[in-house]
């Protein structure tokens, strides 16, 4: 938690910096940081927002009990959404599609890109399980028509089908499709779509804050030498190069 404090204070400090390029010692810097006040309630809300958006229901529930922070989404709806996300992450795409359609049949009907990616994931899973014939049939029947409707879909489809052409799938140019990260990417996309349909912002606020920190530091680099945060995970201040 204290790391967070440093990060947030740093951000606030940078924004208040003067124009000329000067050297700021660690002492000066830390003093300025300490002068900046951040409310604990705001911090808690940020954390809750992160947990809820990412779908960590139990953690959110616990956090609510311990900190008294109210989530901005009804925790019950998170469960449904998490079930969908989990299904995709485990490779049960068909199940995920059914769950999404039960939750809100409009989502996939009005989101051609998402639907295509889900179908694509289904194809990848079939290929992963070695069901080549079924995969081909599936590609022909379900995905080819999508490719006809849209140029970018066609390109992605071709990439996916290319998996079938290689003996050693893990080392081929399109091997990244078989990675777990691909599943996570699709899962994230579904998550975002469900959140949007429920009128919630699909991204947690925390990453945006960190991006702002990095940007602000880059801006400040042109004007001053000061203790920087280079490792976001540890958020330690590193002395300015002289």
């Amino acid at each position: 938690m204290s790391l967070f404090w440093i990060v947030i204070r740093q951000l606030a400090e940078i924004e208040a910096m003067a124009m000329s390029k000067k050297v700021i010692t660690r002492e000066e810097w830390e003093k300025k940081l300490n002068d900046v006040k951040i409310r604990k309630e705001d911090m808690n809300k940020l954390v809750m927002n992160f947990l809820v958006t990412e779908g960590y229901v139990d953690a959110a529930e616990k956090f609510r009990m311990e900190s008294g922070t109210e989530p901005d989404i009804d925790l019950a709806t998170i469960t449904d959404r998490m079930a969908v996300k989990k299904a995709v992450q485990c490779g049960n795409v068909e199940d995920a599609i059914e769950k999404v359609n039960d939750l809100n049949p409009e989502i996939l009907d009005t989101n051609p890109q998402l639907f295509f990616h889900l179908q694509q994931q289904r194809l990848i899973e079939l290929i992963r399980n070695g069901k080549v014939e079924e995969a081909l049939e599936f590609a022909q029947e379900e995905l080819a028509p999508r490719g006809e409707e849209n140029q970018s879909f066609l390109e992605e489809l071709e990439r996916t089908v290319a998996l079938l052409a290689f003996e050693d799938v893990s080392n081929c140019p399109v091997g990244d499709l078989l990675d777990i990260s691909q599943r996570l990417k699709t899962a994230s996309e579904v998550n975002a779509a469900i959140l949007t349909s429920q009128s919630h912002e699909k991204d947690p606020k925390l990453p945006s804050l960190l991006k702002m920190l990095l940007w602000a530091q880059n801006q400040l680099d042109e004007k001053a030498a000061y203790p920087r945060i280079n490792d976001l995970a540890t958020a330690t201040l590193e002395d300015p190069a002289i």
Binding site: I97, E98, N101, E106, L108, D109, Q140, E141
Partner: protein
């Protein structure tokens, strides 16, 4: 072949599902419905193939049965299954209707919309109403149906429909209130309907929905815009304690995080702005809207496509808005988007139209476009696959070609000529009428030049095409073709005029002058005006084929009622009157010919017109007929005087319009140069006996300087007591050079003395 196998598989699966749908067991039915739903959602091809297998009527039947079964349902288990069946079948039908025209048609044909409404949303089903899922499913499906253009028109005039609509809007569920708003957005078209909705107080509810969820906000914004669109009366009634709140609410939403919401909010404000001049006029809000829309162009999806159309509606015909947009680099921004290449046709069309609007009035915008080499991209667009894009490119070209730099051909040399003219000429033959009309509009401007563009156009056979189009069945095409020809002939060289006239022929021109459409008549007359303008030889054209053109002009002047036609006609006569003696006499004949039931020549009506352009045109004609250098002018002057025309001109000495005043001054100087003095005797028979009449005789001598004193016998009741007059002209001033013969005549009615 894999394809046949695939579709064969599909059909097998499909048939299997449909078979199970007809099963007597509810469980089986429910399972089949869910499978069907999951097959078709998001999948257009599957929707089509299931459609062909007759899925829609089958599902509609199931829904209908289930709804009736609700009454008979006796235990919880049955309730639940029936409820599930209703939910699933509504979802299936809604999905068929989602963005899929054939599906919507099938769903409507099966009467599913009414079914869903009655089954899911109406009060009579208390059992079902307790299940929110049913209501939600029904609302969602109906919303899909109502988003299509083919949806049935909702009859707001029926009271029960209005009540139902209000109940939808007031419902807590966002799907249901969203449906209500959707219905308004889709079906409210006439101003009567707008007023009805406004009077029913829907705005209050819609305003509160603005603070709701995303779906509610978006739906509400669309509905509010629909109610206010083009209806100044409703907007003006919008005054009240609530107005400021709603407006500021919407203004806040313009900054919303979701792009689509920002667009809808902007559109809403634009609609209100356009309908009523008293709202949203300060510079702050104008700039905000412009910047917002320009920014929305960056959105890669449909929002970005539509943003340019919104931008057009904001700035069209409004010079102040165009200026503001120019100042924030609007032209450059639009150009940057244009440059990106491989644009979606809708986006391409929108940006071109936006540029066309930007350049419609301001030279700075056009000039900037030319220096950015926008024309290159626009000319490429003339050959685009989409007719809307081609049309928009023509309109853009038309606006930009109004630029001085363009006319003077200051930017680039021959590129401008062939590269522009060739594709435009090709478009004259386009399959789409709208494209032809737009191309004609661009050509009209492009041929107004004195360099090689005109000759290039003619060389490419443009004249033939234009003449052909001027015979089109479609009056808009005739009109625009004539306009192009008119501009082509403007100040053209003799040879050019001859070529054009040969192609047109006198009989075609005469018939176009008498065209059933007044606007076509106007253009035809303007064309003739340009034709006979210039050298004396040009005047001859109007006498071709026994003077049918001149006759047609005269005829139109006598029967016309539209000022624009009368103006052009008078200028034609005025131009002809600059010719030889015979020409001038011919004009006199036309002028003095009276229409049926009319006591005076038509020109008198024109001289008295409220339209200063018409008065100017009429005086020009008189001027040209009586110019001092022509031998026959004095004779014509007398005739004009006899017809009462001269006195009318003299009355216009203090005309409020400067143009008219100057012409009249010249005319009067000309009249004066003829040395005639006119003595006007006015006497009015006040009493019935002769002695009294004689005593009322008054003489007035009028000097020929345009002073006409108008004397009315005070004992007479009517203004027009100039019942009789003497007229004779006699020898005048020693100051003048020539002596004229005295013409002497009396006009005395028998019973007055």
């Amino acid at each position: 072949m894999p394809t046949t196998t695939a579709s064969a598989v599909c059909t097998t699966v499909g048939n299997n599902i449909l078979l199970r749908l007809t099963s007597g067991e509810r469980d089986v039915k429910l399972k089949a419905l869910r499978e069907l739903k999951n097959q078709i959602i998001g999948n257009r091809t599957k929707k089509l193939s299931f459609l062909k297998l007759g899925a829609v009527p089958a599902v509609a039947g199931i829904l209908s049965d289930a709804v009736s079964a609700v009454d008979v349902a006796d235990n919880d288990e049955n309730d639940r299954i029936v409820k599930d069946i209703i939910v699933q079948s509504a979802a299936v039908l809604g999905s068929f209707a989602c963005g899929f025209e054939a599906g919507v048609r099938a769903v409507l044909d099966a009467g599913a919309d009414i079914l869903i409404q009655r089954g899911c949303l109406v009060e009579e089903m208390p059992l079902l109403k307790s299940y929110m899922e049913v209501v939600d499913a029904g609302a969602r499906s109906l919303k899909m149906i109502y988003q299509s253009k083919m949806a049935p028109k909702y009859d707001f005039l029926q009271e029960e429909n209005m009540e139902f609509l209000l109940s939808l809007l007031n419902n807590e569920s966002e799907n249901v209130s969203g449906l209500g708003a959707s219905i308004i957005s889709h079906s409210c078209k006439t101003s009567l309907e707008q007023k009805l909705l406004f009077d029913a107080g829907v705005l209050k509810r819609l305003t509160s929905l603005l603070g709701g969820s995303l779906i509610q906000r978006d739906a509400s914004l669309e509905s509010i815009a629909t109610i206010f669109k083009n209806n100044p009366e409703v907007v003006s009634q919008f005054v009240g304690p609530d107005t400021g709140r709603t407006l500021s609410c919407i203004i806040e939403i313009v900054k919303d995080r979701f792009a689509r919401t920002r667009l809808l909010a902007s559109l809403c404000l634009i609609v209100i702005r356009n309908a009523s001049p008293c709202y949203l006029q300060d510079v702050g809000i104008k700039t905000k809207l412009i910047n917002n829309l320009l920014e929305l162009l960056d959105d890669p999806g449909r929002v970005g496509d539509e943003a340019s159309f919104a931008f057009s509606s904001l700035i069209a015909e409004k010079e102040d808005m165009q200026k503001l947009a120019f100042e924030v680099n609007g032209v450059d921004k639009l150009y940057n988007h244009l440059q990106k290449g491989s644009l979606h046709p809708r986006r391409f069309e929108g940006i071109l139209l936006a540029l066309a609007d930007m350049c419609s009035k301001l030279e700075c915008c056009r000039s900037r476009c030319l220096s950015l080499q926008v024309l290159k991209l626009v000319v490429d667009a003339l050959a685009h696959d989409s007719s809307d894009v081609r049309s928009a490119a023509c309109m853009c070209l038309r606006s930009v070609s109004r630029s001085i730099k363009f006319i003077q051909n200051l930017s680039a040399g021959s590129f401008m000529n062939e590269t522009i003219v060739i594709p435009l000429v090709r478009l004259l033959d386009d399959t789409s009428t709208a494209v032809q009309v737009a191309a004609l509009g661009a050509i009209s401007n492009i041929v107004v030049d004195f360099t090689t563009r005109r000759s290039t156009f003619i060389r490419l056979g443009g004249v033939k095409l234009l003449v052909q189009l001027s015979k089109s069945m479609d009056s808009t095409i005739r009109l625009n073709a004539l306009r192009a020809l008119r501009n082509l002939i403007f100040l053209a060289e003799d040879k050019c005029k001859e070529e054009i006239f040969m192609e047109l022929t006198a009989s075609l021109l005469a018939s176009l002058i008498c065209d059933p459409e007044p606007s076509v008549q106007e253009q035809a007359l303007a064309l003739v005006r340009n034709l006979v303008d210039g050298r004396i030889n040009s005047v001859e054209y109007i006498f071709a084929e026994d003077g049918i053109i001149l006759d047609a002009v005269g005829r139109q002047l006598r029967i016309a009622s539209k000022a624009e036609i009368e103006i052009q006609g008078m200028y034609v006569l005025g131009n002809v009157a600059t010719g030889k003696e015979s020409h001038k006499e011919a004009v006199m004949d036309q002028l003095l010919l009276r229409a049926e039931n009319k006591a005076q020549s038509c020109i008198i009506k024109f001289l008295q017109s409220n339209d200063s352009r018409l008065r100017t045109a009429a005086v020009w004609a008189v001027l040209n007929l009586t110019c001092s250098s022509s031998p026959g002018s004095s004779g014509r002057l007398v005739k004009l005087h006899d017809a009462g025309i001269v006195s009318h001109v003299k009355n216009m000495v203090n005309d409020p319009c400067l143009d008219v005043k100057l012409r009249v001054k010249t005319a009067l100087e000309q009249f004066n140069s003829f040395d005639d003095s006119l003595i006007l005797c006015i006497f009015s028979p006040a009493a019935s006996n002769n002695k009294a009449s004689t005593s009322c005789l008054q003489f007035l001598t009028v000097r020929a300087v345009g002073e006409l004193s108008h004397v009315v016998d005070p004992s007479s009741k009517e203004e027009e007591s100039i019942a009789n007059y003497f007229r004779f002209s006699m020898k005048k001033n020693k100051k003048k050079k020539s002596t004229r013969t005295v013409k002497f005549c009396f006009d005395v009615p028998a019973d007055s003395l």
